[in-house]
Assembly symmetry: C2
Homo-oligomer: 302 residues x 2
DNA sequence: TGGCGTGATATCTCTAAACGTATGACGCGA
DNA sequence: TCGCGTCATACGTTTAGAGATATCACGCCA
């Protein structure tokens, strides 16, 4: 790439003159007087080294050299105008690409309204969605393969900022044949002797610990009979009678046969859905997504 | 087309910096000090309205907006560099398109070496060749659908300039059975009583008149028994015994069976092949073609 | 032949910005 | 904690060129 020999202003004048083929009218369209236009064209011709127009009295026409330069000039001007507009759109956050990771269970609850609201406001932003559990999300945020993550419980990493999207109560997941399934609400302590089906702790340590804490507060340590990586599987195992479980309220949307979801007491035990992003990420799309979260928060936390 | 908001110099700096991702090295490549580069980039960012680079100590990187602008800037710079080079080539006459008309009979004689020499010297010039008789050539030169014409006898038009490419003697075209075919040279006067086969006068009035004049100088007016639009046909008709003809020496190349070409006396009667072009045509390709004609002229006029 | 239209020229002003030197801020690694 | 690398800032100089007005040159047509 070599140093540019021309400037855009004279090239614009050139293009306009090539369209008008009349110095007076072209100057008017450019909003300048006629002499400066003559000068600009002359300077341009000096730089090119050859005349670009033939000026016969009463008729201005392009020379072959001018005809050769015209399409290039036009393309360059259009490219730059388009590129500038695109850069502004991206810079202003009204266009671009935002990479969002989310925990699988959120696809049933907060994710759809969030995406719909965001898309309504920024239709020119392309969303790359990645379903990931907590640990991979943190890693992805770390090496910048993802701009924003939606996960259960704040990850507590120094270089990540978070905001709460939503807090949920826990529900007890019971086989429908379970004696407690006849009650509307289940005190946690009554589950002390049941075997538990839980997610592996590594998938989301903080969330897992929250469950253990809740049980501890109720006076027992859950006996884990089985682990499964997805809520779908956890609930299916519960339905098969392998045990009970504690799950965020949103899991109710799964509606599996043979599985009952019951509110638990005390209802002080809650779990958070949070958004996380790289601290000081200058990407305006991230800020916009956060704004959408802030706007929607009241709508699902009554 | 709207007024350009950017200039090329800063865009060039932007592209170089985007390649180097290092202000010091980019400045060195641009041949300037580092502070001016910082300023140019800052001004550019001000115009765009958003940062184009993230400057974290030890690392300079493109922002999404910068990534968006980069290809447009690169394309614009390349387009203009290419366009400028092309315009210069065309303006300097080393490239472009030259439209040449020629009389059909010249395709056998002067045209091939002329085109070969021209093409050797200006390989990037595209030649549009049109076979036309004299009158259409003059018309085409007039409305600029042709840049240069090659024809027999100067057209004598006020707005056309001409140069002689070549002068030729006339040869008698005889059936090989004709009594005069036994001679090496044929005095024109001996053809006084033969019927003539000639081109239509309208195809090239001056050339036609030249033949009539030659006969008049020999003391007779040719009796035209037949007209034909092409030399090929004229000679075929002569071979068929419909008469004799007078033709420029170059027609010998036709070499038809049953037709003899014989030199004529007096040899003062000659015909000119001329090139014609619009007076004051600024097209350098025309000038170059004329130069090639001038260079080649000695080679075929001994 | 004298206006009219068109473009070129002359001259002046003014500003943006290109560039340099000197220096400051800041994180990072020894 | 002290350099070092890296980029930003401050400030001054210089220049290209964009713009204006006034005027000239020239062909054309009434």
């Amino acid at each position: 790439m070599t140093r540019p020999e021309l400037s855009l202003a004279p090239l614009h004048a050139f293009v306009v003159l090539a369209e008008e083929l009349h110095f007076g009218r072209a100057a008017a369209r450019l909003g300048i007087a006629q002499p400066p236009l003559s000068q600009q064209i002359r300077r341009l011709e000096d730089k090119v080294g050859h005349p670009l127009f033939t000026r016969t009295p009463g008729h201005t026409a392009l020379t072959p050299a001018g005809r050769e330069l015209l399409p290039a000039a036009r393309r360059a001007l259009e490219d730059l105008a388009d590129g500038l507009a695109a850069a502004r759109a991206v810079g202003g956050g009204s266009a671009g690409r935002l990479r969002v990771a989310f925990a699988a269970s959120l696809a049933l609850t907060v994710l759809p309204p969030l995406l719909r609201a965001y898309r309504d406001r920024f239709p020119d932003v392309h969303l790359d969605l990645h379903e990931l559990t907590t640990a991979p999300q943190v890693a992805a945020l770390h090496d910048r393969t993802v701009d924003l993550g939606l996960l259960r419980e704040p990850p507590g990493e120094a270089d990540l900022d978070t905001t709460t999207v939503h807090t949920e109560r826990f529900v007890a997941v019971l086989p429908s044949t379970h004696p407690l399934a006849t009650r509307r609400t289940v005190p946690l302590a009554l589950l002390a002797d049941d075997p538990f089906v839980l997610l592996p702790r590594a998938a989301g340590p903080r969330f897992h610990d929250r469950i253990i804490e809740a049980c501890a507060a109720a006076g027992f340590t859950p006996r884990v009979a089985q682990r499964a990586v997805e809520w779908q599987t956890v609930c299916a195992l519960v339905g098969a009678g392998l045990g009970v479980s504690l799950a965020p309220e949103g899991i109710r949307h799964l509606r599996l046969r043979g599985v009952a979801f019951r509110a638990t007491t005390p209802d002080t035990v809650r779990t958070e859905v949070v958004a996380a992003w790289h601290k000081d990420d200058p990407n305006p799309l991230v800020a916009h997504f956060r704004a959408v979260i802030d706007d929607l928060r009241p709508s699902w936390t009554p």
